[in-house]
């Protein structure tokens, strides 16, 4: 990395941290610290909600997914706009009118303290793991590709986030997220521009999209119904809806963003804007990945995008085998480039027969190349059983480092760091608020002064930050990182959503039945994960449906007296 890249990266991060510290100064009251005094406008809420979800993994791993698997991942977000409408109608007015600090606080008014504490604990476990991954994943990828020390990188990102999140609370988090999201998206736009500018003469933007389409990378919609396929229209619509309802309606890291709205209208507008913009934004990020794929049809890619594992196997007893695979890969690339060039020429000449012939040839060569890459992955794993042989997460950063001019590499790294910091900040902020409001204030010490709770919240932010850094330092490889993070959530999101849906809509079900329903739901999700090949998005649907149904059945079997005793306080 050049000096100018370091300057750009350092200056951007310093500006963000200083801005966060300045924006979040003078936080004296708990409502001020945890909810920005409920004074934020819709645009801050919208961008904060989007930045919370768009972690560095989104910007690093998603283009890699488009490279290897096409753009079908965009379907995961199809349920999100519907969820934004549902939550705007239901959750937003309820949370606002009760003036709660956390989503789980509401559950006490509905079911009692047991359900509140259970969901708060589920959230702390799941979000604690998620935030650690949010911190660790980009640090791992960046440090491997750039040869940095992973521990120091994790520590640096973590400390910077803790600094302004602990000092400035939610106000600092929300305001910095606005700028961080703009920087991250600008970085992706720069990457797309460079990929397009670097294509050979005679290959334009439309040609690139056509090549991507011919090679199966523009598979943005698939209407076939298949439970074992992770991303199609139906899993995106139903599974994605459940994930989005659970994530935005029950996960404090998101609920806290729109609880900061000055009015119900501001919070609603924030969520609806997210519903409008999220799908196009994910489309754009995946499109960058598809274009990077096209770029590598004309410029030789490495056999494996994981530089550390490649180097290791080159210096092992499998070196000769790996070299042979590299030679096959190079030979296939030469043929692929020729076929791709001829395909573009045929498309421009509107020669349908040649287009079909060259498409078949290019697909055949691509399959051969993928087989070579799989053989290389197998060799990497044979050499080191603990190695992360999947290189999807390294594709985009490798493209950035090897192809962007000096200065712009720094911008892209700043974009990735900004995304890592914004998602981590929301995570820490929500972990601290839940710990203080739902656990400490409710169970341990309800008699502290408002200022003492602010101080406690600051220490909780530091504590959770330290825990996430420690966990991040010891995290193992988990395959494709974005899927891993979403999978962690999918283990509990269905259950959490079931609890909240019962709270909102099934008024006759009480606390005991809800807790039993939640336990049954969680068992169902675990059984699905272990014993079926059901795609993980569907776990959310199973968890939610089983949870609601089980709670209703249990409630129906309860004695009438118990039902009366559990009559909800809030109607």
């Amino acid at each position: 990395m050049s000096a100018i890249d370091w300057i750009v990266l350092g200056a951007t991060l310093a500006a963000i941290v200083l801005y966060g510290l300045w924006k979040g100064r003078r936080q004296q009251r708990l409502e001020q610290y945890l909810l920005a005094d409920r004074q934020l406008q819709w645009y801050t809420i919208a961008l904060s909600v989007m930045a919370t979800q768009a972690s560095a993994i989104t910007f690093l791993s998603t283009p890699g997914q488009a490279y290897t698997d096409g753009m079908r991942f965009v379907q995961f977000y199809l349920g999100l706009p519907i969820a934004m409408v549902i939550l705007s109608i239901t959750a937003v007015p309820i949370f606002h009118n009760l003036r709660v600090f956390t989503a789980y606080e509401y559950l006490e008014t509905r079911f009692g303290v047991g359900t509140r504490t259970l969901t708060a604990m589920l959230f702390l476990i799941q979000r604690g793991l998620g935030t650690a991954m949010t911190l660790y994943a980009p640090a791992l990828i960046v440090s491997l590709v750039l040869g940095w020390n992973i521990q120091l990188t994790t520590l640096a990102i973590g400390v910077l986030v803790i600094l302004y999140t602990a000092t400035g609370g939610t106000k600092a988090v929300s305001w910095t997220q606005m700028h961080q999201l703009f920087i991250s998206l600008a970085g992706m736009a720069i990457a797309l521009f460079v990929a397009m500018k670097s294509l050979p003469n005679g290959v334009g933007f439309t040609d690139a999209v056509r090549v991507a389409g011919r090679m199966g990378r523009i598979n943005v919609i698939d209407f076939s119904f298949d439970l074992s396929t992770p991303y199609n229209f139906w899993s995106g619509l139903f599974g994605g809806l459940m994930v989005a309802l659970a994530y935005f309606g029950t996960d404090q890291s998101q609920v806290q963003r729109y609880l900061t709205g000055e009015t119900i209208a501001q919070s609603r507008l924030g969520l609806l804007f997210n519903g409008l913009v999220k799908v196009p934004m994910q489309f754009f990020i995946l499109f960058v990945g598809a274009m990077v794929f096209v770029f590598y049809q004309f410029v030789a890619p490495p056999l494996s995008f994981n530089p550390v594992q490649s180097e290791k196997v080159r210096n092992s007893r499998y070196a000769a085998e790996y070299q042979s695979l590299e030679e096959t890969h190079a030979k296939t690339f030469t043929q692929k480039r020729a076929a791709a060039t001829e395909l573009v020429a045929a498309m421009n000449a509107k020669d349908a027969n040649t287009v079909e012939r060259k498409t078949t040839e290019l697909r055949r060569l691509q399959t051969r190349d993928e087989e070579t890459r799989q053989a290389a992955s197998a060799l990497i794993r044979k050499n080191d059983a603990r190695a992360d042989a999947a290189d999807t997460d390294y594709i985009f950063l490798t493209f950035v480092i090897n192809n962007l001019p000096k200065g712009l590499v720094g911008v892209l790294l700043a974009a990735i760091f900004c995304a890592a910091m914004s998602a981590t900040a929301s995570g820490l902020n929500s972990l601290a608020s839940t710990t203080v409001v739902d656990i400490w204030k409710r169970h341990l010490n309800p008699h502290l002064s408002d200022h003492e709770y602010v101080v406690l919240s600051k220490w909780m932010t530091v504590g959770w930050g330290a825990l996430c850094i420690a966990f991040g330092l010891y995290a193992n490889q988990l395959g494709s990182l974005i899927v891993a993070v979403n999978k962690v959530g999918s283990f509990v999101y269905g259950t959490m959503l079931a609890i909240f849906l019962i709270a909102f809509y099934v008024k006759r079900v009480g606390g005991t039945a809800t807790v039993i329903g939640a336990i049954v739901s969680e068992i169902a999700v675990i059984l699905c994960a272990i014993f079926t090949d059901m795609a993980w998005l569907w776990w959310n649907v199973v968890g939610c449906v089983v949870g609601v149904a089980a709670a209703m059945v249990v409630q129906a079997t309860l004695q009438p007296a118990e039902r009366r005793r559990e009559t909800p306080a809030l109607r």
Binding site: V85, S88, V209, I221, L272, V279
Partner: protein, 39 residues
Amino acid sequence: MTTETPPPVGGSWRNLYTAVLLALAAEVALFYWFVRAFR
């Protein structure tokens, strides 16, 4: 329970919700066209 203040744009909340859902439908239609046009 809630005081329904109208949104600053769109006339009513119902209109805004419809706009978000129509935008989603348009995106799906656009995606379908995109797949067919470039496959």
